[in-house]
Amino acid sequence: MTTKNRLMRRLKGTMLSRVHGMITCREFEEFVLGYLDGELPAQQAKIFDWHLRICRECREYLAAYKRTIEVGKAVLGPGHEPVPEDVPEDLIKAVLNSRK
């Protein structure tokens, strides 16, 4: 990381932690789930949105986080279950035999 980048991060961190109505990236992390579930009170949601506007890292992180959920649902969701073609006949017999 260059000296300029380090300085910029330091300034950003100081601003986010000291200015009223702003949150740091670490604090932002704690709100992600509540934000996506629509459970944040209006004022907290506003602070979260404000952080998103000014923080490239959290904006891109959140986009990738949401895409991860979508991709997971697409790969594992209904209609994509890998149904085994070879259910062992022994298992079927065992199930049928377990009927009393």
Partner: protein, 195 residues
């Protein structure tokens, strides 16, 4: 003498213990159990136990849900009991894949020049398989919560009850599971190999 309770047709006129019903459902139940347990032998045990529970509880099936969703729920519950029995649901370390912050509490996140679309990921057998396998790499205690909430779409309270943990613990595990999965899937999501 036949037991009239067990002979009662429960759905579409098919008796719960008919061979037809077993053959029609055993494949997806096995896949479901294997997905949860990541072990074919244990999954077979769970399927057998699930059918036994279905036979025993068939009088409790009131047709409010489809027969398939009833069997689905029995299979999930039985698989979770198995995981609990094997003590595989205790919290395990996942920290190395969680988001990182510098000493100023700023997020460390490399710039994303491109984020793959769901369609791009789904287009290739290879990327689909990698997503599937990567989810399987998550520790059980996180993977199961992610799977129940995001894939099965149980709500937080239901997951808490199923796993015997608090609602806030479900939320923490879900968020960590998603965050860790995001990190593990970065090579796919950054679309480096899709271009």
């Amino acid at each position: 003498m036949p037991d009239p309770q067990r002979e009662k047709p429960v759905d579409s006129g098919i008796a719960i213990d008919s061979e037809e019903l077993v053959r029609a459902n055993i494949g997806w139940m096995l896949a479901l159990a294997e997905r949860l347990l990541r072990d074919r032998g244990l999954a077979e045990d769970v399927v057998q136990e699930s059918f036994v529970k279905a036979y025993e509880g068939s009088a409790g099936f009131e047709g409010r849900s489809s027969l398939e969703s009833w069997l689905h729920r029995i299979t999930v519950n039985t698989a979770l009991s198995k995981l609990r029995q094997l003590k595989r649901l205790a919290e395990q370390p996942i920290d190395e894949n969680l988001p990182e912050f510098d000493r100023f509490d700023c997020r460390i996140e490399l710039p994303w020049s491109r984020l793959a679309s769901v369609e791009e990921v789904m287009e290739s057998d290879d990327t689909r398989r990698r997503v599937y396998e990567t989810i399987g790499e998550l520790p059980d205690s996180y993977r199961v919560v992610l799977w129940l909430r995001d894939i099965e779409e149980y709500d937080t309270s239901e997951v808490a009850t199923l796993l015997g943990i608090s609602k806030s613990n479900v939320k923490v595990r879900l968020h960590r599971a998603r965050a860790a999965l995001k990190k593990l899937l970065e090579p796919v999501l950054r679309a480096e190999e899709l271009q």
